[in-house]
Structure formats: structure tokens, C-alpha cells
């Protein structure tokens, strides 16, 4: 079975174009999801999250459970996938020095604080304007629930206000119950302190819709 030159060229070009469009929001999503899991259960199995990150770093190399654990213990080399700089390599080293071969944290309660510190630094670097408006953990959750920065950038302010309250919204559409006023934004400090929560949620989401577009075109756009 011999491949012609046209086939080989097009595979090589597709690899380069894929690599250019894998962006750093995948790393933010990874840290947010791990933090959310350990908050619910400090001894949770993390293998599913780790294999997802592994395939963004090496998209075309197949590996099994033991090889993946050994890969993250050594120095990370990535050829065709997401390119990390030195600072981010350090974050990953900190996370994986605490993981056992069964893919569980040695001490889940300590890691909660460390993961939060890493997430704050990452959001400050890649989302400088939005991280001033709301807490970094909820910002990460917003990105996770729509599946990436590019999808979130295309949403209007009224949709960002209601992300996370889909069940109540569809119930409202169907049977005319009162409509929801806020979704994930309810857990921010600004809303917890506010007297009129609906008004504050509208103001926050209007501000977020502007800053997210600002961040996207500064840091993520090709």
C-alpha cells in the first residue's frame, strides 16, 4: 500500500493547521474541571480528565494507562499538539507530582488551595479584563459549559446571564412559569452581597459580554 505524494502532503498540512487552532483555553478548562471534581470528592479518579489533556498534547500517539502516567513524570515534549511555555510546564509538574499511579491525589484537601492559585494565575494571564469582573473559578465554569472561548465569545449578554439555568428556562417556555433571572453567576460574591439580585446579574453579564470579546481578540484570535 503506497501513498501518493498528494495524500502525504495534505495530511502534513492538516496537522499544521490543526496545531495552530488548538488554543490555550483547553488548559484553563482542564484545571477548572479538576478543581470542581476535587471539591465534590477529594479522592476522585482523575484518569478521564488526564487522558483528555494527553490527547491535546500528543494527538496522534496512542497510549495506555501506565505509559500516560510515566509520560507526565518526565519532562514534557509536544510535537504536533498544544505548545506550552515554561511557566505552564511548571504548573503541570506541580499537579502531577501529587498524583499516584491510580490517578488520585495523595492529599486532596491541600491540592484544592494550590489548584485555585494556578487557575487564578492562568486566568490573569489569558483573560486579563474578564478576571477583574468576576471570580476566576466561575469564569472557568462558564467556558466549560459552552465548550470553549470561541463559543462563549459569540453569545449575547442575555444568554451569558442564563448559562446554567437551562432547565428553568425551558420550563418557562413550555408552561409559562416565572422566568429565571440568573444561572451560574448566582455564586459570585457580587451577587451574594447584592440586595436586588436580578438587577445585579443583568449588569454583570452586560459587562462580561464586552470584556470576553476584548480578551478573545487580544489573546486567542488567529
Amino acid at each position: 500500500m503506497i501513498k501518493s505524494k498528494q495524500v502525504v502532503d495534505s495530511i502534513a498540512e492538516a496537522k499544521i493547521r490543526v496545531q495552530e487552532s488548538i488554543s490555550k483555553d483547553k488548559l484553563i478548562m482542564f484545571v477548572t474541571r479538576i478543581l470542581e471534581d476535587t471539591r465534590n470528592d477529594p479522592e476522585v479518579d482523575l484518569f478521564g480528565r488526564v487522558i483528555e489533556l494527553y490527547y491535546y498534547l500528543n494527538p496522534y500517539r496512542k497510549a495506555y494507562r501506565k505509559a500516560i502516567y510515566e509520560y507526565f513524570q518526565k519532562e514534557i515534549k509536544c510535537k504536533y499538539g498544544l505548545m506550552l511555555d515554561e511557566e505552564e510546564m511548571n504548573y503541570i509538574k506541580i499537579i502531577f507530582s501529587e498524583i499516584t499511579p491510580q490517578f488520585r491525589f495523595k492529599d486532596g484537601k491541600v491540592m484544592k488551595g494550590r489548584l485555585k492559585g494556578i487557575l487564578e494565575k492562568l486566568t490573569k494571564k489569558y483573560l486579563p479584563h474578564s478576571s477583574e469582573v468576576i471570580d476566576s473559578f466561575i469564569l472557568g465554569k462558564l467556558i466549560c459549559s459552552v465548550g470553549g472561548m470561541e463559543n462563549l465569545m459569540r453569545k449575547p449578554a442575555s444568554t451569558i446571564q442564563l448559562i446554567g439555568s437551562e432547565k428553568a428556562l425551558f420550563r418557562h417556555n413550555k408552561s409559562g412559569n416565572p422566568s429565571p433571572k440568573y444561572g451560574l453567576l448566582y455564586y459570585t460574591r457580587e451577587l451574594q452581597e447584592a440586595n436586588k439580585k436580578g438587577k445585579k446579574a443583568r449588569q454583570l453579564s452586560n459587562k462580561l459580554a464586552i470584556t470576553i470579546k476584548q480578551d478573545y481578540f487580544e489573546k486567542f484570535a488567529r
Binding site: I2, V7, P59, Y60
Partner: protein, 180 residues
């Protein structure tokens, strides 16, 4: 891990069309332009059945990675990572191979516009196949959308045959078209 190699009509619209009696089986020498290849379930089976080239167009990152992994195993799949609206890039990559079959399976709002734009790349005797999903075009009654869309198709194409795939895929219709 062994993959299951039976071609299943529940996961492939092309196979469902063959099972319902449409004349779309391959003969062995065709070149295919496939818009909306996804992770390559159908493309993998087509590549075993033909000697010609298969140009597989896909836009999403997460779906293109398994498609490239598949293309490294087979000998005649050309993955193109591009939006299907961008016909200039596709034309550049096709060069001067003659396309025999054009297939489109992108359930989106402007599904008919995409195929009219892409049909300018092929000759007049090319077979054009389209799997139309009425549910993703409008929330109104699906019979009404079907009539509107087939009227829109008749401006640019001649409809040879159409069949509902209701038995395997909900809300899908398979069209066989020809250029006017």
C-alpha cells in the same frame, strides 16, 4: 482494541440509503468530495470500496484528530481542515482530479446554500447526494420545511429521487440531484 468493522445503517446515512433501495453503491473507481466528514466512520468504509481519492472536509478540531489518525492507516483519504464555505481553498487542493460524487452531510441552517456553492466545483455529469435534516433548519412542521427546501433546490438542481430515512434517522431525507 479491535474496531467493529460492520457498516451500520444506524450510524451512517449513506448505508441507510443503500438499505432502503437507492442506487448509490460504489463501483470501484470513483473520486469523492465529502463535506462534513466528522470522525470518519463513513469515510473509512468508503475508502475500502474505491480506488480513487476521497477528499474529506471537516471544520472542528476534536473531530479532525481521529480523522487524521484514520487517514494515516488508509491510502486514499485526504483530510482538509477548513470550513465548507471556503470553496477557494478546496479548489486549490483538488487540483485537476475529476470528482464523480459530491456528498454533503452538514446539519445546519444554510445547508442548501453550502451545496449550491460547492456544486460549482464539479462537472455536469457528477452525481450530487445530500442528506437534509429538516429539524435543524426550523422548528415548524417538518412537512412545511421539506416543501420549502425542495422548492429552493429546484432553482439550481434537477431532483432525480428523494427518500425519507425515518426508519434509521429521525427527520432526515436523502436526495439524489443533478446539475441543471
Amino acid at each position: 482494541m479491535e474496531k467493529d468493522y460492520t457498516w451500520n445503517p444506524q450510524t451512517s446515512k449513506w448505508r441507510a440509503g443503500i438499505d432502503l433501495g437507492l442506487p448509490i453503491d460504489l463501483e470501484g473507481e470513483e473520486n469523492i468530495l465529502y463535506l462534513g466528514a466528522s470522525s470518519g466512520t463513513t469515510v473509512g468504509h468508503l475508502s475500502e470500496r474505491t480506488e480513487g481519492m476521497i477528499f474529506a472536509v471537516e471544520k472542528s478540531v476534536d473531530m479532525t484528530i481521529p480523522l487524521i489518525r484514520l487517514a494515516e492507516k488508509m491510502h486514499n483519504i485526504l483530510p482538509l481542515f477548513v470550513d465548507a464555505h471556503d470553496t477557494e481553498y478546496i479548489k486549490e487542493k483538488i487540483q485537476d482530479t475529476k470528482i464523480n460524487i459530491l456528498f454533503q452531510d452538514i446539519p445546519s441552517l444554510d445547508q442548501v446554500d453550502i451545496i449550491t456553492k460547492a456544486s460549482k466545483l464539479v462537472d455536469k455529469d457528477c452525481k450530487i447526494l445530500l442528506s437534509l435534516k429538516t429539524l435543524s433548519i426550523s422548528k415548524q412542521d417538518s412537512k412545511k420545511t421539506f416543501l420549502e427546501m425542495s422548492k429552493k433546490l429546484e432553482e439550481n438542481f434537477k431532483i432525480i429521487e428523494s427518500k425519507k430515512l425515518e426508519k434509521f434517522h429521525k427527520g432526515h431525507t436523502f436526495f439524489i440531484l443533478e446539475k441543471l
